[in-house]
Symmetry: C2
Subunit: 237 residues, 2 copies
DNA sequence: ACAAAAGTGTTGTTGCTACACCCATGC
DNA sequence: GCATGGGTGTAGCAACAACACTTTTGT
Protein backbone atom coordinates (compact mmCIF):
# COMPACT_ATOMS: atom_id res chain seq x y z
CA UNK A 1 0.00 0.00 0.00
CA UNK A 2 1.92 2.98 -1.28
CA UNK A 3 0.57 6.42 -0.53
CA UNK A 4 1.37 9.96 -1.46
CA UNK A 5 3.81 11.90 0.67
CA UNK A 6 3.77 9.92 3.88
CA UNK A 7 0.14 10.57 4.65
CA UNK A 8 0.35 14.32 5.08
CA UNK A 9 -3.36 14.97 5.49
CA UNK A 10 -3.40 18.02 3.25
CA UNK A 11 -0.92 16.95 0.62
CA UNK A 12 -3.48 15.32 -1.64
CA UNK A 13 -6.95 16.32 -2.83
CA UNK A 14 -9.47 15.38 -0.23
CA UNK A 15 -12.31 12.96 -0.65
CA UNK A 16 -15.57 13.53 1.09
CA UNK A 17 -17.21 10.32 2.26
CA UNK A 18 -20.97 10.15 2.59
CA UNK A 19 -23.63 7.55 3.18
CA UNK A 20 -26.82 7.27 1.15
CA UNK A 21 -29.82 5.35 2.37
CA UNK A 22 -32.31 3.36 0.35
CA UNK A 23 -35.04 3.03 2.97
CA UNK A 24 -37.69 0.56 1.83
CA UNK A 25 -40.94 -0.46 3.42
CA UNK A 26 -44.35 -1.87 2.59
CA UNK A 27 -47.40 0.36 2.80
CA UNK A 28 -50.78 -1.05 1.78
CA UNK A 29 -49.12 -3.92 0.06
CA UNK A 30 -46.88 -1.78 -2.11
CA UNK A 31 -43.15 -1.21 -1.90
CA UNK A 32 -42.31 2.36 -0.91
CA UNK A 33 -39.10 4.39 -0.77
CA UNK A 34 -38.27 7.20 1.60
CA UNK A 35 -37.11 10.26 -0.32
CA UNK A 36 -36.22 13.80 0.67
CA UNK A 37 -36.58 16.93 -1.40
CA UNK A 38 -33.35 18.80 -1.88
CA UNK A 39 -33.27 22.35 -0.59
CA UNK A 40 -30.05 23.47 -2.25
CA UNK A 41 -28.22 23.30 -5.54
CA UNK A 42 -27.34 21.17 -7.29
CA UNK A 43 -30.54 19.32 -8.06
CA UNK A 44 -32.46 21.82 -5.96
CA UNK A 45 -36.07 20.75 -5.61
CA UNK A 46 -35.40 17.22 -6.86
CA UNK A 47 -36.01 14.08 -4.89
CA UNK A 48 -32.97 12.34 -3.44
CA UNK A 49 -32.10 9.52 -1.10
CA UNK A 50 -31.52 10.62 2.49
CA UNK A 51 -27.91 10.60 3.55
CA UNK A 52 -25.07 12.71 4.83
CA UNK A 53 -21.44 12.99 5.64
CA UNK A 54 -19.47 10.44 7.57
CA UNK A 55 -17.90 12.12 10.57
CA UNK A 56 -14.21 11.81 11.36
CA UNK A 57 -14.74 9.49 14.30
CA UNK A 58 -17.45 7.14 13.09
CA UNK A 59 -17.65 4.25 10.66
CA UNK A 60 -19.87 4.40 7.61
CA UNK A 61 -22.26 1.99 9.29
CA UNK A 62 -22.53 4.24 12.32
CA UNK A 63 -23.09 7.23 10.07
CA UNK A 64 -25.88 5.40 8.27
CA UNK A 65 -27.53 4.57 11.59
CA UNK A 66 -27.23 8.19 12.71
CA UNK A 67 -28.56 9.67 9.49
CA UNK A 68 -31.45 7.24 9.65
CA UNK A 69 -32.52 8.96 12.84
CA UNK A 70 -31.59 12.52 11.86
CA UNK A 71 -32.60 12.81 8.24
CA UNK A 72 -35.61 10.63 7.78
CA UNK A 73 -38.04 12.22 10.20
CA UNK A 74 -38.74 8.82 11.72
CA UNK A 75 -38.86 8.42 15.46
CA UNK A 76 -35.72 7.22 17.19
CA UNK A 77 -37.35 3.93 18.14
CA UNK A 78 -38.58 3.38 14.60
CA UNK A 79 -35.22 4.17 13.07
CA UNK A 80 -33.40 1.95 15.53
CA UNK A 81 -35.57 -1.01 14.61
CA UNK A 82 -34.74 -0.97 10.93
CA UNK A 83 -32.63 -3.64 9.33
CA UNK A 84 -29.52 -1.94 7.97
CA UNK A 85 -27.20 -3.50 5.44
CA UNK A 86 -24.37 -2.19 3.30
CA UNK A 87 -25.21 -2.17 -0.39
CA UNK A 88 -22.26 -0.86 -2.40
CA UNK A 89 -20.00 2.13 -2.81
CA UNK A 90 -20.40 4.66 -5.59
CA UNK A 91 -17.33 6.59 -6.52
CA UNK A 92 -17.47 7.92 -10.05
CA UNK A 93 -15.58 11.20 -10.25
CA UNK A 94 -18.17 13.76 -11.17
CA UNK A 95 -21.08 12.03 -9.46
CA UNK A 96 -21.26 15.19 -7.39
CA UNK A 97 -20.47 18.31 -9.45
CA UNK A 98 -19.14 20.23 -6.46
CA UNK A 99 -16.29 18.03 -5.35
CA UNK A 100 -15.08 14.50 -5.07
CA UNK A 101 -17.60 12.53 -3.04
CA UNK A 102 -17.45 8.80 -2.44
CA UNK A 103 -20.69 7.43 -1.10
CA UNK A 104 -21.29 4.20 0.76
CA UNK A 105 -24.88 3.18 0.11
CA UNK A 106 -26.99 1.22 2.59
CA UNK A 107 -30.38 -0.37 2.39
CA UNK A 108 -32.71 -0.06 5.37
CA UNK A 109 -35.79 -2.22 5.62
CA UNK A 110 -38.69 -1.96 8.00
CA UNK A 111 -42.31 -2.87 8.55
CA UNK A 112 -45.13 -0.58 7.49
CA UNK A 113 -43.73 2.70 8.72
CA UNK A 114 -45.48 5.91 9.70
CA UNK A 115 -45.35 9.08 7.67
CA UNK A 116 -42.15 10.87 8.61
CA UNK A 117 -42.47 13.94 10.76
CA UNK A 118 -39.88 16.62 10.36
CA UNK A 119 -37.64 16.10 13.30
CA UNK A 120 -34.29 16.97 11.83
CA UNK A 121 -32.99 18.50 8.68
CA UNK A 122 -35.45 16.97 6.35
CA UNK A 123 -38.99 17.96 7.18
CA UNK A 124 -39.60 17.19 3.53
CA UNK A 125 -39.02 13.46 3.82
CA UNK A 126 -41.81 11.42 2.30
CA UNK A 127 -42.77 7.89 1.29
CA UNK A 128 -43.23 7.36 -2.43
CA UNK A 129 -44.46 4.16 -4.04
CA UNK A 130 -41.48 2.55 -5.72
CA UNK A 131 -41.52 3.39 -9.40
CA UNK A 132 -43.51 6.59 -9.14
CA UNK A 133 -40.55 8.77 -8.26
CA UNK A 134 -39.19 10.87 -11.08
CA UNK A 135 -35.47 10.96 -11.83
CA UNK A 136 -33.53 11.39 -8.61
CA UNK A 137 -30.57 13.63 -7.86
CA UNK A 138 -26.98 12.51 -8.42
CA UNK A 139 -26.69 8.79 -9.20
CA UNK A 140 -29.45 7.91 -6.78
CA UNK A 141 -31.52 6.21 -9.45
CA UNK A 142 -28.77 3.69 -9.92
CA UNK A 143 -28.42 3.18 -6.18
CA UNK A 144 -32.13 2.63 -5.76
CA UNK A 145 -32.26 0.18 -8.65
CA UNK A 146 -29.36 -1.76 -7.18
CA UNK A 147 -31.05 -1.80 -3.78
CA UNK A 148 -34.28 -3.23 -5.12
CA UNK A 149 -32.46 -5.83 -7.15
CA UNK A 150 -30.32 -6.88 -4.21
CA UNK A 151 -33.28 -7.12 -1.88
CA UNK A 152 -35.22 -9.13 -4.44
CA UNK A 153 -32.35 -11.57 -4.80
CA UNK A 154 -31.80 -11.92 -1.06
CA UNK A 155 -35.44 -12.81 -0.53
CA UNK A 156 -34.73 -15.99 -2.43
CA UNK A 157 -32.00 -17.39 -0.27
CA UNK A 158 -32.17 -15.55 3.06
CA UNK A 159 -34.77 -14.78 5.70
CA UNK A 160 -34.62 -11.09 4.84
CA UNK A 161 -38.37 -10.91 4.25
CA UNK A 162 -39.02 -10.84 7.99
CA UNK A 163 -37.21 -7.48 8.11
CA UNK A 164 -40.24 -6.01 6.35
CA UNK A 165 -42.57 -7.40 9.01
CA UNK A 166 -43.47 -6.22 12.52
CA UNK A 167 -42.35 -8.37 15.46
CA UNK A 168 -45.48 -10.48 15.17
CA UNK A 169 -46.84 -11.17 11.73
CA UNK A 170 -49.04 -13.53 9.78
CA UNK A 171 -47.94 -15.72 6.92
CA UNK A 172 -50.15 -13.64 4.68
CA UNK A 173 -48.14 -10.55 5.52
CA UNK A 174 -44.91 -12.42 4.86
CA UNK A 175 -46.23 -13.58 1.52
CA UNK A 176 -47.18 -9.98 0.76
CA UNK A 177 -43.52 -9.02 1.11
CA UNK A 178 -42.49 -11.45 -1.59
CA UNK A 179 -45.33 -10.45 -3.84
CA UNK A 180 -44.64 -6.73 -3.50
CA UNK A 181 -40.89 -6.96 -4.06
CA UNK A 182 -41.03 -9.54 -6.82
CA UNK A 183 -44.18 -8.24 -8.43
CA UNK A 184 -45.74 -11.68 -8.78
CA UNK A 185 -48.48 -13.68 -7.09
CA UNK A 186 -47.54 -16.72 -5.04
CA UNK A 187 -49.65 -19.76 -4.33
CA UNK A 188 -50.80 -19.42 -0.71
CA UNK A 189 -50.81 -23.09 0.34
CA UNK A 190 -47.43 -23.79 -1.20
CA UNK A 191 -45.88 -20.68 0.27
CA UNK A 192 -47.12 -21.66 3.69
CA UNK A 193 -45.68 -25.16 3.48
CA UNK A 194 -42.39 -23.88 2.16
CA UNK A 195 -41.94 -21.37 4.96
CA UNK A 196 -43.02 -23.71 7.73
CA UNK A 197 -40.79 -26.51 6.47
CA UNK A 198 -37.69 -24.32 6.60
CA UNK A 199 -36.32 -24.65 10.14
CA UNK A 200 -35.67 -21.31 11.80
CA UNK A 201 -37.39 -19.12 9.23
CA UNK A 202 -40.44 -18.35 11.37
CA UNK A 203 -41.45 -19.44 14.83
CA UNK A 204 -45.07 -19.97 15.82
CA UNK A 205 -46.33 -17.86 18.70
CA UNK A 206 -48.01 -20.44 20.88
CA UNK A 207 -50.46 -18.12 22.61
CA UNK A 208 -54.07 -18.17 21.43
CA UNK A 209 -53.68 -14.72 19.88
CA UNK A 210 -54.87 -14.29 16.36
CA UNK A 211 -55.58 -11.35 14.15
CA UNK A 212 -57.43 -10.24 11.11
CA UNK A 213 -56.32 -8.38 8.04
CA UNK A 214 -59.73 -6.99 7.16
CA UNK A 215 -62.11 -9.84 6.78
CA UNK A 216 -61.53 -13.54 6.44
CA UNK A 217 -60.39 -16.14 8.91
CA UNK A 218 -58.07 -14.85 11.63
CA UNK A 219 -54.49 -15.95 11.05
CA UNK A 220 -51.96 -17.45 13.41
CA UNK A 221 -49.07 -15.24 14.41
CA UNK A 222 -45.37 -15.86 13.99
CA UNK A 223 -42.15 -14.16 14.86
CA UNK A 224 -38.88 -14.26 12.97
CA UNK A 225 -36.84 -17.39 13.66
CA UNK A 226 -33.15 -17.48 14.33
CA UNK A 227 -32.10 -18.63 10.89
CA UNK A 228 -30.51 -16.24 8.43
CA UNK A 229 -30.12 -18.44 5.35
CA UNK A 230 -32.78 -20.39 3.48
CA UNK A 231 -31.90 -23.96 2.51
CA UNK A 232 -33.20 -24.76 0.04
CA UNK A 233 -34.04 -21.32 -1.32
CA UNK A 234 -37.46 -19.98 -2.17
CA UNK A 235 -37.14 -19.38 -5.87
CA UNK A 236 -38.90 -16.74 -7.90
CA UNK A 237 -41.39 -18.31 -10.34
CA UNK B 1 -27.48 15.98 2.14
CA UNK B 2 -26.09 18.54 4.53
CA UNK B 3 -22.36 19.11 4.49
CA UNK B 4 -19.83 21.03 6.46
CA UNK B 5 -19.07 24.60 5.48
CA UNK B 6 -20.20 24.63 1.89
CA UNK B 7 -17.72 22.03 0.75
CA UNK B 8 -14.54 23.92 1.47
CA UNK B 9 -12.09 21.14 0.68
CA UNK B 10 -9.90 21.82 3.68
CA UNK B 11 -12.53 22.73 6.22
CA UNK B 12 -13.03 19.18 7.42
CA UNK B 13 -10.69 16.33 8.22
CA UNK B 14 -9.79 14.53 5.05
CA UNK B 15 -10.51 10.91 4.31
CA UNK B 16 -8.13 8.88 2.28
CA UNK B 17 -9.85 6.40 0.00
CA UNK B 18 -8.08 3.23 -0.99
CA UNK B 19 -8.88 -0.02 -2.73
CA UNK B 20 -7.89 -3.45 -1.43
CA UNK B 21 -7.84 -6.51 -3.62
CA UNK B 22 -8.66 -10.07 -2.68
CA UNK B 23 -7.15 -11.82 -5.70
CA UNK B 24 -8.15 -15.47 -5.74
CA UNK B 25 -7.14 -18.26 -8.06
CA UNK B 26 -6.82 -22.01 -8.23
CA UNK B 27 -3.38 -23.60 -8.26
CA UNK B 28 -3.09 -27.38 -8.26
CA UNK B 29 -6.67 -27.70 -7.18
CA UNK B 30 -6.33 -25.45 -4.16
CA UNK B 31 -7.63 -21.96 -3.60
CA UNK B 32 -4.80 -19.41 -3.40
CA UNK B 33 -4.64 -15.74 -2.44
CA UNK B 34 -2.22 -13.15 -3.75
CA UNK B 35 -0.52 -11.35 -0.88
CA UNK B 36 2.22 -8.76 -0.66
CA UNK B 37 4.72 -8.29 2.12
CA UNK B 38 4.64 -4.85 3.64
CA UNK B 39 7.87 -2.88 3.44
CA UNK B 40 6.93 -0.10 5.86
CA UNK B 41 5.36 0.47 9.21
CA UNK B 42 2.79 -0.20 10.39
CA UNK B 43 2.64 -3.96 10.08
CA UNK B 44 6.10 -3.92 8.49
CA UNK B 45 7.00 -7.36 7.26
CA UNK B 46 3.47 -8.69 7.55
CA UNK B 47 1.41 -10.03 4.69
CA UNK B 48 -1.30 -7.79 3.33
CA UNK B 49 -3.75 -7.60 0.46
CA UNK B 50 -2.48 -5.62 -2.51
CA UNK B 51 -4.09 -2.23 -2.93
CA UNK B 52 -3.49 1.46 -3.06
CA UNK B 53 -4.92 4.91 -3.14
CA UNK B 54 -7.73 6.02 -5.37
CA UNK B 55 -6.58 8.95 -7.47
CA UNK B 56 -8.52 12.17 -7.68
CA UNK B 57 -9.74 11.55 -11.20
CA UNK B 58 -10.62 7.86 -11.18
CA UNK B 59 -13.40 5.74 -9.75
CA UNK B 60 -12.69 3.04 -7.19
CA UNK B 61 -13.29 0.42 -9.85
CA UNK B 62 -10.71 2.04 -12.12
CA UNK B 63 -8.25 2.23 -9.24
CA UNK B 64 -8.76 -1.46 -8.53
CA UNK B 65 -8.08 -2.31 -12.16
CA UNK B 66 -4.96 -0.14 -12.14
CA UNK B 67 -3.57 -1.53 -8.90
CA UNK B 68 -4.20 -5.01 -10.21
CA UNK B 69 -1.65 -4.29 -12.91
CA UNK B 70 0.76 -2.22 -10.83
CA UNK B 71 0.88 -3.96 -7.50
CA UNK B 72 0.42 -7.63 -8.15
CA UNK B 73 3.39 -8.32 -10.38
CA UNK B 74 1.10 -10.00 -12.90
CA UNK B 75 1.47 -9.22 -16.57
CA UNK B 76 -0.80 -6.58 -18.03
CA UNK B 77 -2.65 -9.13 -20.14
CA UNK B 78 -3.12 -11.42 -17.16
CA UNK B 79 -4.36 -8.63 -14.93
CA UNK B 80 -6.73 -7.35 -17.59
CA UNK B 81 -8.34 -10.76 -17.91
CA UNK B 82 -9.34 -11.07 -14.28
CA UNK B 83 -12.95 -10.89 -13.19
CA UNK B 84 -13.25 -7.88 -10.91
CA UNK B 85 -16.17 -7.27 -8.59
CA UNK B 86 -16.80 -4.88 -5.74
CA UNK B 87 -17.01 -6.64 -2.38
CA UNK B 88 -17.69 -4.11 0.38
CA UNK B 89 -16.32 -0.99 1.99
CA UNK B 90 -14.42 -1.02 5.26
CA UNK B 91 -14.46 2.19 7.19
CA UNK B 92 -13.83 1.66 10.88
CA UNK B 93 -12.01 4.64 12.31
CA UNK B 94 -8.72 3.28 13.46
CA UNK B 95 -8.45 0.53 10.89
CA UNK B 96 -5.30 2.34 9.79
CA UNK B 97 -3.40 3.80 12.75
CA UNK B 98 -1.91 6.64 10.70
CA UNK B 99 -5.00 8.41 9.49
CA UNK B 100 -8.56 7.99 8.45
CA UNK B 101 -8.67 5.54 5.55
CA UNK B 102 -11.82 4.20 3.96
CA UNK B 103 -11.16 1.22 1.77
CA UNK B 104 -13.32 -0.18 -1.01
CA UNK B 105 -12.50 -3.88 -1.28
CA UNK B 106 -12.72 -5.84 -4.52
CA UNK B 107 -12.45 -9.48 -5.34
CA UNK B 108 -10.51 -10.49 -8.44
CA UNK B 109 -10.82 -14.01 -9.81
CA UNK B 110 -8.74 -15.71 -12.44
CA UNK B 111 -7.63 -19.05 -13.81
CA UNK B 112 -4.48 -20.77 -12.62
CA UNK B 113 -2.16 -17.81 -12.61
CA UNK B 114 1.61 -17.61 -12.92
CA UNK B 115 3.89 -16.68 -10.08
CA UNK B 116 4.00 -12.88 -9.94
CA UNK B 117 7.16 -11.20 -11.17
CA UNK B 118 8.10 -7.94 -9.61
CA UNK B 119 7.09 -5.39 -12.15
CA UNK B 120 5.93 -2.56 -9.97
CA UNK B 121 6.03 -1.66 -6.34
CA UNK B 122 5.52 -5.09 -4.97
CA UNK B 123 8.25 -7.44 -6.06
CA UNK B 124 7.27 -9.36 -2.96
CA UNK B 125 3.85 -10.43 -4.20
CA UNK B 126 3.23 -14.13 -3.80
CA UNK B 127 0.52 -16.77 -4.00
CA UNK B 128 -0.34 -18.44 -0.71
CA UNK B 129 -2.75 -21.33 -0.28
CA UNK B 130 -5.88 -19.96 1.33
CA UNK B 131 -5.78 -20.67 5.03
CA UNK B 132 -2.02 -20.90 5.37
CA UNK B 133 -1.46 -17.17 5.64
CA UNK B 134 -0.80 -15.88 9.11
CA UNK B 135 -2.70 -12.88 10.46
CA UNK B 136 -2.72 -10.12 7.86
CA UNK B 137 -2.14 -6.41 8.27
CA UNK B 138 -4.96 -3.99 9.07
CA UNK B 139 -8.41 -5.58 8.80
CA UNK B 140 -7.38 -7.64 5.81
CA UNK B 141 -8.27 -10.90 7.51
CA UNK B 142 -11.87 -9.79 7.70
CA UNK B 143 -11.83 -8.66 4.06
CA UNK B 144 -10.40 -11.96 2.93
CA UNK B 145 -12.94 -13.94 4.93
CA UNK B 146 -15.76 -11.89 3.48
CA UNK B 147 -14.38 -12.40 -0.03
CA UNK B 148 -14.25 -16.15 0.30
CA UNK B 149 -17.71 -16.30 1.77
CA UNK B 150 -19.17 -14.09 -0.95
CA UNK B 151 -17.52 -16.08 -3.70
CA UNK B 152 -18.72 -19.33 -2.18
CA UNK B 153 -22.27 -18.03 -2.05
CA UNK B 154 -22.19 -16.67 -5.60
CA UNK B 155 -21.07 -20.02 -6.95
CA UNK B 156 -24.48 -21.33 -5.94
CA UNK B 157 -26.64 -19.01 -7.94
CA UNK B 158 -24.42 -17.43 -10.59
CA UNK B 159 -22.01 -18.59 -13.29
CA UNK B 160 -19.08 -17.09 -11.40
CA UNK B 161 -17.18 -20.39 -11.39
CA UNK B 162 -16.16 -19.87 -15.01
CA UNK B 163 -14.17 -16.83 -13.88
CA UNK B 164 -11.71 -19.27 -12.29
CA UNK B 165 -11.29 -21.14 -15.57
CA UNK B 166 -9.24 -20.43 -18.70
CA UNK B 167 -11.11 -19.59 -21.92
CA UNK B 168 -11.44 -23.29 -22.75
CA UNK B 169 -11.96 -25.70 -19.89
CA UNK B 170 -13.23 -29.15 -19.05
CA UNK B 171 -16.13 -29.96 -16.79
CA UNK B 172 -13.64 -31.55 -14.44
CA UNK B 173 -11.86 -28.24 -14.04
CA UNK B 174 -15.15 -26.48 -13.45
CA UNK B 175 -16.07 -29.03 -10.82
CA UNK B 176 -12.66 -28.47 -9.24
CA UNK B 177 -13.57 -24.83 -8.71
CA UNK B 178 -16.63 -25.75 -6.69
CA UNK B 179 -14.76 -28.37 -4.71
CA UNK B 180 -11.89 -26.06 -3.89
CA UNK B 181 -14.00 -23.10 -2.82
CA UNK B 182 -16.62 -25.11 -0.97
CA UNK B 183 -14.23 -27.68 0.42
CA UNK B 184 -16.46 -30.61 -0.45
CA UNK B 185 -16.53 -33.38 -3.04
CA UNK B 186 -19.23 -33.33 -5.69
CA UNK B 187 -20.66 -36.27 -7.56
CA UNK B 188 -19.19 -36.11 -11.05
CA UNK B 189 -22.14 -37.45 -13.05
CA UNK B 190 -24.67 -35.28 -11.29
CA UNK B 191 -22.51 -32.19 -11.57
CA UNK B 192 -22.14 -32.76 -15.28
CA UNK B 193 -25.86 -33.12 -15.85
CA UNK B 194 -26.64 -30.09 -13.74
CA UNK B 195 -24.22 -27.82 -15.59
CA UNK B 196 -25.22 -29.03 -19.05
CA UNK B 197 -28.91 -28.68 -18.31
CA UNK B 198 -28.56 -25.03 -17.31
CA UNK B 199 -28.90 -23.02 -20.52
CA UNK B 200 -26.09 -20.55 -21.05
CA UNK B 201 -23.81 -21.77 -18.28
CA UNK B 202 -21.28 -23.45 -20.57
CA UNK B 203 -21.11 -23.85 -24.31
CA UNK B 204 -19.61 -26.92 -25.96
CA UNK B 205 -16.70 -26.29 -28.30
CA UNK B 206 -17.66 -28.27 -31.36
CA UNK B 207 -14.16 -28.85 -32.68
CA UNK B 208 -12.64 -32.29 -32.19
CA UNK B 209 -10.17 -30.89 -29.64
CA UNK B 210 -9.80 -32.73 -26.42
CA UNK B 211 -7.34 -32.62 -23.61
CA UNK B 212 -5.95 -34.50 -20.70
CA UNK B 213 -5.45 -33.56 -17.11
CA UNK B 214 -2.80 -36.13 -16.34
CA UNK B 215 -4.16 -39.52 -17.16
CA UNK B 216 -7.66 -40.70 -17.78
CA UNK B 217 -10.02 -40.26 -20.66
CA UNK B 218 -9.62 -36.97 -22.54
CA UNK B 219 -12.41 -34.54 -21.77
CA UNK B 220 -14.50 -32.38 -24.04
CA UNK B 221 -13.87 -28.66 -23.92
CA UNK B 222 -16.29 -25.89 -23.12
CA UNK B 223 -16.25 -22.14 -22.97
CA UNK B 224 -18.28 -19.90 -20.68
CA UNK B 225 -21.82 -19.32 -21.90
CA UNK B 226 -23.59 -16.01 -21.97
CA UNK B 227 -25.69 -16.55 -18.86
CA UNK B 228 -24.85 -14.82 -15.62
CA UNK B 229 -27.47 -16.27 -13.26
CA UNK B 230 -28.16 -19.92 -12.48
CA UNK B 231 -31.82 -20.96 -12.42
CA UNK B 232 -32.29 -23.12 -10.53
CA UNK B 233 -29.16 -22.74 -8.41
CA UNK B 234 -26.49 -25.32 -7.79
CA UNK B 235 -26.78 -25.83 -4.07
CA UNK B 236 -24.03 -26.73 -1.66
CA UNK B 237 -24.52 -30.22 -0.19
C1' DA C 1 -3.17 -55.27 -16.15
C1' DC C 2 -4.20 -51.44 -13.43
C1' DA C 3 -5.43 -46.78 -12.00
C1' DA C 4 -7.61 -42.63 -13.04
C1' DA C 5 -10.72 -39.67 -15.01
C1' DA C 6 -14.68 -39.00 -18.54
C1' DG C 7 -19.08 -40.04 -19.73
C1' DT C 8 -23.95 -42.72 -19.66
C1' DG C 9 -27.77 -45.10 -17.34
C1' DT C 10 -31.01 -46.16 -13.68
C1' DT C 11 -33.67 -45.95 -9.53
C1' DG C 12 -35.76 -44.17 -5.38
C1' DT C 13 -36.79 -40.07 -3.09
C1' DT C 14 -37.66 -35.35 -2.43
C1' DG C 15 -39.64 -31.09 -3.54
C1' DC C 16 -42.56 -28.45 -5.97
C1' DT C 17 -47.01 -27.07 -8.74
C1' DA C 18 -51.51 -26.94 -9.37
C1' DC C 19 -55.38 -27.59 -7.88
C1' DA C 20 -59.73 -28.94 -4.87
C1' DC C 21 -61.63 -28.43 -0.61
C1' DC C 22 -63.00 -26.90 4.34
C1' DC C 23 -62.90 -23.07 8.07
C1' DA C 24 -63.78 -18.63 10.13
C1' DT C 25 -64.86 -14.01 9.77
C1' DG C 26 -67.25 -9.31 7.99
C1' DC C 27 -70.90 -7.50 5.33
C1' DG D 1 -75.91 -15.86 1.76
C1' DC D 2 -71.61 -14.31 -0.17
C1' DA D 3 -66.97 -12.64 -0.49
C1' DT D 4 -62.49 -12.87 1.48
C1' DG D 5 -58.54 -14.73 3.35
C1' DG D 6 -56.59 -18.78 6.43
C1' DG D 7 -55.50 -23.51 6.52
C1' DT D 8 -55.33 -28.79 4.88
C1' DG D 9 -55.07 -32.48 1.42
C1' DT D 10 -53.52 -34.68 -2.69
C1' DA D 11 -52.05 -36.25 -7.33
C1' DG D 12 -48.60 -35.60 -10.95
C1' DC D 13 -44.35 -34.04 -12.37
C1' DA D 14 -39.49 -32.42 -12.31
C1' DA D 15 -35.26 -32.36 -10.05
C1' DC D 16 -31.87 -34.47 -7.53
C1' DA D 17 -28.77 -38.01 -4.87
C1' DA D 18 -26.61 -42.26 -4.98
C1' DC D 19 -24.58 -45.74 -7.28
C1' DA D 20 -23.47 -49.11 -11.07
C1' DC D 21 -21.38 -49.32 -15.34
C1' DT D 22 -18.70 -48.42 -19.77
C1' DT D 23 -14.94 -45.78 -22.20
C1' DT D 24 -10.38 -44.03 -22.97
C1' DT D 25 -6.18 -42.68 -21.69
C1' DG D 26 -1.14 -43.14 -19.02
C1' DT D 27 2.02 -46.18 -16.65
Amino acid sequence: MTGPAGYDPHAFPPFAVTVDLAVLTLREGRLHVLLVRRGEAPYQGDWALPGGFVRPDESAGAAARRELAEETGLSEATAAGLHLEQLATYSDPGRDPRMRVVSVAYTALGPGLPEPRGGGDAAHAQWLPYGTQGPLAFDHDAILTDARQRVGAKLEYTCLATAFCPPLFTLGELRGVYEAVWGVELDRPNFRRKVLSTPGFVQAVDGPPRLTGGRGKPAALYRAGGATALHPPLLRP
